[in-house]
């Protein structure tokens, strides 16, 4: 069983971006259709009341799709977007949705954003090595 320090170290490593040359991008098919469908159901339950059923945002919460959303996250590792979800969403109690489920929600965001699905599911420990890019590199 890993020590707490080892878990923490692994987590910190997962946050650190990989060297640019080794990074994939969100255009490389980094999630699966099934995963995004699981994420869609989770999104409707936990996120849609503030961010809208179509992720387009509302008075109290920003859009999670569209040009500005992409622009504001472009260039960052997907791990940062995940960390934002993990630490602060949903705002009434971020602990009510597990980290694993939040990765699925992230897959849903990518799917809605028109980013291609691929053969393998998005995994939490891979997030730091995937770059969010607004336009296809």
């Amino acid at each position: 069983m890993p020590t707490r320090a080892a878990v923490l170290a692994a987590w910190l490593v997962s946050l650190a971006p990989a060297p640019a040359g080794q990074m994939r991008s969100v255009w490389d098919g980094v999630y699966t259709v099934e995963q995004a469908q699981r994420g869609a159901a989770l999104y409707q339950t936990h996120c849609a009341s503030c961010h809208g059923v179509a992720l387009t945002g509302a008075e109290a919460a920003p859009a999670l799709t569209g040009f500005e959303f992409r622009s504001n996250w472009s260039g960052l590792p997907l791990g940062e977007l995940f960390e934002r979800l993990r630490s602060s969403m949903p705002p009434e109690d971020p602990g009510q949705v597990s980290a694993r489920d939040k990765v699925d929600v992230l897959a849903h965001l990518l799917a809605v954003g028109g980013l291609p699905a691929g053969p393998a599911e998005l995994a939490r420990d891979a997030l730091a090595g995937i770059r969010f890019e607004a336009t296809k590199p």
Binding site: V33, Q37, G52, A54, A60, A63, G66, N72, P91, G113
Partner: protein
């Protein structure tokens, strides 16, 4: 020495006010000795103006960080939407902060934390419709006592001693007033859907309290809490009056509700900032629409005071006048921001005016004593839709002057046209949507089309809660607006709501599960990112700063606000094209006007000239709109800039946050001239 002076000033300034005021007019409200910023809007007229000019075109580019204040620790987790405008009184900066909406007092010269106040409201706070740090606090003094007053996420009003941060025992019960009580309707204290995240306004010892709800595109029910507005005694916390924003039976305006709709319909709150004319003794309420942002079939009738500007007697809450900006709204065009008071001269006639910016792109200008429109506002016929059960207003008010500051409605000509290919793609994409002018009603969403209304301005503007700023020397109003469509369709979904229709988009009948990987298009639960090769579907400017002369009712200048996003600058389809600055969309950008400048930060991240990711704080020559300076910030502006003078130096403070950058106050000041260093 300076520090001691400030502390001394903190004690003495209220006394000095008593000695010098004399006229009594200003007693018992936020007082400004000249260098301070004592209420959200800079003054109760909501002008966000100070004549200071130490930060000017020559010094703006050299601004230095005086201090910065991170808010991560003020709540169980960091906040990424820090919207407050801090106050500065007597050398102390006051603001709400963090996901708990704590209140902090900071040394205005250094940012050092002087005190903090925290309310842990448990489930009541966590389930609140409007959480996070909110827009800030209000300041009150009677010359002896000084208080900071704010509303918690759980909708309790707290009065704190401004010097110590301790609750004021004589206010409400132990310093707190439960705002879910005395609202003339039963409200569950824990789960009742009402709160408030705006900053309070106080004048003549009266605190005016609004109400906010969850976003209303798809409410669970046609029945909701009514957003009545109330006045409270600033000394005791006792309720003085209530104004029913949805009239009760027999009250004026009741006849604008058909059937029994007024009895169960809720919302119609004032979630944004209010404005006060201290001389006239009037408070001005920008009211949102009643329950159901895009479907009004359960609330037939024009529905006063939905989407109205209402003037009340500050002391009694009695209505003096009102004007409904949208009859029976179907577009979520809540009146979104504080109206701005301006004493204008039109054709040689002095008018005490009030100017109301709006989501829909107009500034509505009235005589603020009478409610009479300064320039004609014409009732013109508008088209009815065919949504079953809907009630359509036959006419809507059209402003004839000043001209709209933002695109109203959308046609093919407004679509992206950087290249013919991009335009062609955009035309194909919008073929499944309804296009039309302002007040085109939303349709029932059908997969075969129309999926929804392509609505411009969007449901969030145009302008939004930051509103504008006014230079009282020239009567020029400055405001930021953005251009980005909302897609509004209606669906029947009993699993989500007892309303016949709520916002949503039809699903593909042949594909029960949305197909990930599909780009724009859309399905319920799927997205409608209306982009063309990842680019915005509309032509730029995506964000605009506008200057409007309120004496003449004319636009003086407009410039794109916000640097061209990286995704446009680096887009492969745009290589070789010379694209001028596009501005940035979707922001909630407040402006500040000073002796010579209009100042506002950018709403989005980009790669700044220094190579770092961030956003610029920009300064424009207020006469011409020419940019005269810019300084980098680590994140976009999310609050609104304010300024103060302290020990002879001008400070500029703004809240920033966004994407992965948590909330922070940045305080800038001009460097000392070489001789003074």
């Amino acid at each position: 020495m300076a520090r001691r002076f400030r502390l001394l000033a903190l004690v003495l300034v209220p006394l000095v006010w008593v000695l010098v005021s004399g006229d009594g007019r200003l007693a018992g409200q936020a007082r400004d000795s000249g260098g301070e910023w004592t209420t959200f809007g800079g003054d109760l007229a909501s002008r966000r103006y100070r004549p200071f000019d130490q930060i000017n075109r020559d010094t703006f580019g050299d601004l230095e960080i005086a201090w910065r204040f991170k808010t991560d620790a003020f709540g169980p987790r960091p906040e990424f939407t820090f919207q407050a405008t801090p106050l500065m009184v007597g050398g102390v900066v006051y603001t709400t902060a963090g996901t708990r909406r704590d209140v902090v007092a900071l040394d205005a010269a250094t940012g050092e934390l002087l005190w903090m106040h925290r309310e842990d409201e448990g489930a009541r706070g966590e389930g609140a419709p409007r959480r996070l740090s909110g827009r800030g606090v209000a300041y009150w003094t009677d010359g002896r006592e000084a208080r900071i007053v704010y509303v918690t996420p759980g909708y309790r009003m707290i009065a704190l001693d401004a010097r110590t941060g301790r609750p004021v025992p004589g206010f409400g019960s132990g310093g707190a007033v439960d705002l879910k009580l005395e609202m003339d309707q039963p409200i569950d204290l824990e789960t009742g859907e009402v709160g408030l995240h705006s900053a309070l306004v106080i004048a003549h010892d009266v605190i005016v309290v609004g109400a906010a709800h969850l976003p209303g595109g798809a409410p669970k029910s046609r029945v909701n809490v009514k957003g009545h507005v109330r006045g409270y005694d600033a000394r005791t916390g006792k309720r003085l009056w209530i104004f029913h924003t949805i009239p009760q039976a027999g009250q004026p305006g009741d006849d604008t509700w058909e059937r029994d709709a007024a009895s169960y319909t809720g919302n119609a709150g004032v979630w944004t900032q209010m404005t006060i004319d201290e001389d006239l003794g009037l408070v001005y309420l920008p009211v949102e629409l009643p329950t159901g942002d895009y479907y009004g079939g359960h609330r037939p009738g024009a529905g006063l005071y939905g989407e109205s500007l209402v003037a009340l007697d500050l002391k009694t809450g009695q209505r003096k006048w009102h004007f409904q900006l949208v009859h029976h709204g179907l577009w979520d065009h809540d009146v979104p921001c504080a109206p701005i008071l301006a004493d204008i001269t039109v054709d040689g006639r002095l008018i005490k005016a009030i100017a109301q910016p709006s989501k829909q792109g107009w500034v509505y200008v009235f005589d603020r004593a009478t409610g009479e429109a300064v320039w004609p506002i014409e009732e013109r016929p508008v088209p009815a839709g065919d949504v079953p059960g809907e009630w359509y207003a036959p006419t809507q008010p059209f402003v004839t002057k000043p001209p709209p500051f933002e695109l109203q409605g959308v046609t093919i000509d407004d679509l992206i046209d950087f290249t013919p290919e991009l335009r062609a793609e955009a035309v194909k994409l919008v073929s499944r949507y309804t296009l039309g002018p302002l007040f085109t009603p939303p349709p029932v969403s059908r997969w075969e089309g129309p999926l929804g209304l392509l609505m411009v301005p969007s449901s969030t503007g145009g302008a939004n809660w930051p509103g504008g700023a006014l230079d009282p020397e020239t009567n020029v109003l400055y405001l930021y607006s953005f251009r980005n469509p909302s897609v509004i369709g209606l669906v029947h979904d009993p699993s989500r709501s007892d309303m016949t229709y709520v916002q949503g988009l039809a699903a593909d009948p042949n594909a029960p599960k949305p197909a990930p990987g599909a780009a724009a298009g859309g399905a319920e639960g799927g997205g409608v990112a209306l982009t063309v090769q990842g680019l915005p579907i509309l032509k730029p400017p995506y964000g605009t700063m506008t200057a409007i002369d309120l004496d003449r009712g004319e636009i003086v200048w407009q410039v794109p606000h916000g640097e061209t996003p990286d995704a446009v600058r680096n887009h492969p389809a745009l290589k070789g094209l010379d694209i001028p600055r596009t501005g940035r969309t979707n922001g909630r950008i407040g402006t500040l006007v000073t002796g010579s400048l209009v100042i506002a930060g950018e709403p989005g991240f980009f790669t700044m000239p220094n190579g770092l990711r961030g956003a610029m704080l920009r300064a424009y020559d207020k006469a011409t709109g020419k940019e005269v300076g810019a300084v980098p910030m680590p994140a976009p502006q999310s609050g609104s800039p304010m300024t103060y003078m302290l020990d002879g130096r001008q400070y500029l403070v703004v809240a920033v946050s966004g994407a992965g950058y948590s909330g922070e106050l940045l305080a800038f000041r001009a460097p000392l001239p070489p001789a003074a260093r």
